[in-house]
């Protein structure tokens, strides 16, 4: 990682995270936006980023860590290429989300919060995606898929696998 050098050497391309670090002048309430920027840049929050954030904000690293673990959005491990979220909101629950989740687990061969061996999918279960009228819903990346059946879920996952094969 080049974060430390990126902050000092001019002309190095800065990620939005580095820029935020660079420009940070102790404005209050910047911890969470900094963590969000780090996660955007790396897909997770590497330990080096925790150190750097602690340094510029003068918040102890232990406290930064406490904030990271409080919020579900933050991750300390790298994510797969696609994040697959199955919705377990009320509407999805009464419309068969359990079966959809089961199908995803079978198809990917992993449990929630795990990443497939090929690094393609990270699977998460979330409380509500807000697309309740399309229940049951699964979201892959920013794309939501609604009115799902186990069969449709399998098809969608296969599409993503094919996309990867074509790209390879």
């Amino acid at each position: 990682m080049t974060e430390a050098t990126a902050r000092t050497s001019e002309g190095t391309v800065l990620s939005p995270f580095s820029k935020m670090l660079w420009r940070h002048h102790g404005e209050p309430g910047m911890l969470i936006p900094l963590l969000q920027a780090a996660q955007d840049a790396y897909g997770y929050i590497p330990s080096l980023a925790i150190e750097q954030i602690a340094e510029v904000t003068a918040i102890p690293a232990s406290e930064v860590f406490g904030v990271i673990t409080f919020y579900k959005q933050f991750r300390l491990l790298p994510l797969g290429k696609y994040v697959l979220r199955t919705c377990k909101g009320t509407a999805c629950h009464v419309s068969g989300a359990e079966l959809i989740a089961q199908t995803v687990e079978d198809e990917l061969g992993i449990y929630p919060d795990e990443t497939t061996k090929d690094g393609l999918f990270t699977y998460m279960v979330v409380a509500c995606l807000g697309c309740c009228s399309l229940a049951p819903v699964v979201m892959i990346g920013d794309q939501a898929y609604g009115r799902l059946t186990p069969e449709k879920v399998r098809k969608i996952i296969k599409q993503y696998r094919r996309k990867k094969e074509q790209a390879a």
Binding site: P28, I32, T90, Q102, A127, C131, S133
Partner: protein, 582 residues
């Protein structure tokens, strides 16, 4: 010039709105077809997404269930040959809208959320102009107080009173915070407003700022709503550029700027003191009140926190007057309420109704009843803090006090409809699982009490319930309610208490007879293959890990109940829907 408008709220996008929009863009030639392509936010009829509306002089046609493939015919027949495609039209639109009154959703599904000009075209920012030109802060507060507007986030605190307290607080800095951390599972009202009409929220906040003397505003939005965040950001930029936000607004010496803060995924941050902690960059844990945020909130300064829907009402009230607002509703519940109709409902979506209308009217007259055609059994209101209102109480009017009397709460507006296929014990378990996960852990009773309640409910669902369990649940519920600091814990037992109150026989069936009447709880049902539907394809046989399924190719298969572990794998692979729970 005709307009072709595609509904691109998150629901529309999830249903495939982007390919529809792109295909229309490819086909429509503005010159030749005399039509422009536009986008708008949530139209409200989510069950018919993707929705495409053709606006011609004095006439509008709404097409539902549009797919990329259907676009060609709409362009060919409607736009080029001038022939409306009757069979694709949303015929029931008038029925859906008949009992609605749209104040909060006045612009949703009508204007392009990315266009400030369109917002100005429907009278946008006129309320702010009026406030800055004609009204003193106390006059603004008086109008809001007279309108009877109450907080739409769930608790229903009178907005005028809150503003009065915030205005009375003495400090150099004050803040207005818009609570857009819509976390209730099954609720998407605020998301639709943020996505469909972002400027109305900014305007509402600026008016609140003028009323209480604040110069800064924060919007705390859920990170799970990427479209809403994008549109808000865009809207803030536009408003700053045109001088509706920033320094010396409209030349009247009023300074007000708005910052957007993305939440990081914690349900408890919908609670105001937790929300403040989160904006300040700390773990989002609630604290003891008082002091209330109107006295000491963000960074110790007086802070007025209002919900999205509350703020969306404000510009309308300023323009139309308090009386125009409070003619709708009942004694203490004025105006309208937006509900997110979801679950087993025929016409799910976003509806806005005058207060006082009955739950039955919302479900049957607007929602069209259940999608399965089976009897409506209960409606869940208020999410994890609310409760299940049984069909027998369907005449209950939409009114803060009347709904609270049933044991549920008005809440932020989630209305999840359940039919006879829904197990109420399972629903209670579902909500408790949610609150248990989301408890921040500060208060012992909320942290451990909910865990104990959840364990009992899981045991009941697994067929291991005991007679004394209901008593223990009630006891724990009382203790959690009385010993928790914030709303999360104080209301967490509600879904359990209301289901025990109204569906005690269902609990008894689980506990005594070891049966799940709705056939949901896996441990209490048998998995059976319907021999009439089974084609003998063998998929379930391959999927079954416990070797419980047997059968020859092309002949109906059988499940051996003594080997079946009820994992549902066979159900997920069967294409005929032949595996049934009995």
């Amino acid at each position: 010039m005709r307009e072709v408008v595609v509904g691109l709220g998150a629901c529309g996008i999830a249903a495939g709105g982007i390919p529809v929009y792109d295909r229309l863009k490819e086909l429509i030639d503005p010159q030749k077809d005399q039509a422009v392509l536009k986008q708008t936010g949530c139209v409200g009829m989510c069950y018919r997404e993707v929705l495409v509306e053709v606006r011609e002089q004095g006439k509008r046609t709404l097409y539902g269930d549009v797919t990329k493939e259907r676009v060609d015919r709409i362009v060919e027949e409607h736009l080029r040959a001038g022939k409306v495609i009757e069979e694709w039209k949303v015929g029931e639109e008038n029925e859906v809208l008949a009992k609605q009154k749209r104040i909060v959703l006045r612009n949703c599904g009508k204007i392009d959320p990315f266009s400030l000009d369109e917002y100005l075209g429907v009278g946008g920012y006129q309320a702010l102009v009026k406030v800055l030109n004609e009204l003193k802060p106390e006059q603004i507060i008086a109008i809001i107080a007279e309108s009877g507007l109450r907080g739409r986030g769930g608790a229903g605190f009178p907005t005028g009173t809150k503003w009065k307290y915030a205005a009375a607080a003495k400090d150099q800095h004050k803040y207005v915070v818009c609570n857009a951390d819509e976390g209730d599972p099954g609720a998407f009202m605020d998301r639709s407003v943020l996505e469909g009409d972002p400027h109305s929220i900014l305007e509402g906040m600026a008016i609140a700022g003028a009323a209480i003397g604040a110069d800064h505003g924060y919007i705390y939005a859920r990170a799970e709503y990427p479209h809403a965040v994008r549109r808000l950001r865009h809207a803030i930029g536009q408003a700053e550029e045109k001088g509706y936000l920033g320094n010396n607004i409209l030349g009247k010496g009023f300074n007000f700027s708005i910052r957007l803060k993305e939440g990081a995924g914690a349900f408890v941050c919908g609670e105001e003191t937790a929300l403040i902690a989160s904006i300040e960059g700390r773990r989002g844990m609630p604290r003891v009140r008082p002091p209330f945020p109107v006295d000491s909130g963000l960074w110790g300064h007086p802070t007025c926190i209002n919900n999205v829907e509350t703020l969306a009402n404000v510009p309308w009230i300023i323009i139309n007057g308090a009386k125009a607002f409070n003619i709708f509703g009942t004694g203490n519940s004025k105006g309208t309420k937006v509900f997110a109709l979801a679950g087993k409902i025929k016409r799910g979506g976003l509806v806005e109704v005058p207060m006082g209308i009955s739950i039955n009217e919302v479900i049957y007259d607007i929602g069209g009843g259940t999608i399965s055609g089976k009897p409506f059994k209960a409606v869940q209101m208020g999410g994890p803090s609310g409760g299940c209102i049984p069909a027998a109480l369907g005449d209950t009017p939409v009114d803060y006090e009347k709904i609270t009397a049933t044991g549920a709460i008005m809440g932020s507006g989630g209305m999840v409809v359940m039919d006879t296929d829904t197990c109420m014990v399972d629903v209670a378990r579902f909500f408790l699982n949610f609150t248990q996960n989301e408890s921040c852990g500060k208060c012992t009773f909320c942290r451990i009490g909910t865990k104990r309640m959840l364990e009992i409910l899981e045991r009941i669902c697994a067929g291991k319930g005991e007679e004394k369990d209901l008593l223990t649940l009630a006891e724990l519920a009382e203790q959690i309610k009385s010993s928790s600091l914030c709303g999360l814990g104080q209301t967490a037992p509600n879904p359990v208490l209301t289901t025990i109150l109204y569906f005690r026989d269902e609990y008894q069936a689980h506990i005594k007879d070891k049966k799940c009447p709705a056939k949901v709880c896996g441990a209490l049902v048998d998995y059976v293959i319907n021999s009439e539907l089974c084609t003998g394809c063998g998929l379930c046989l391959k999927a079954c890990e416990s070797g419980a399924i047997s059968g020859e190719k092309k002949k109906p298969h059988l499940i051996d109940p003594s080997k079946c572990i009820k994992c549902s794998k066979c159900i997920t692979v069967c294409r005929q829907g032949a595996v049934e729970k009995r």
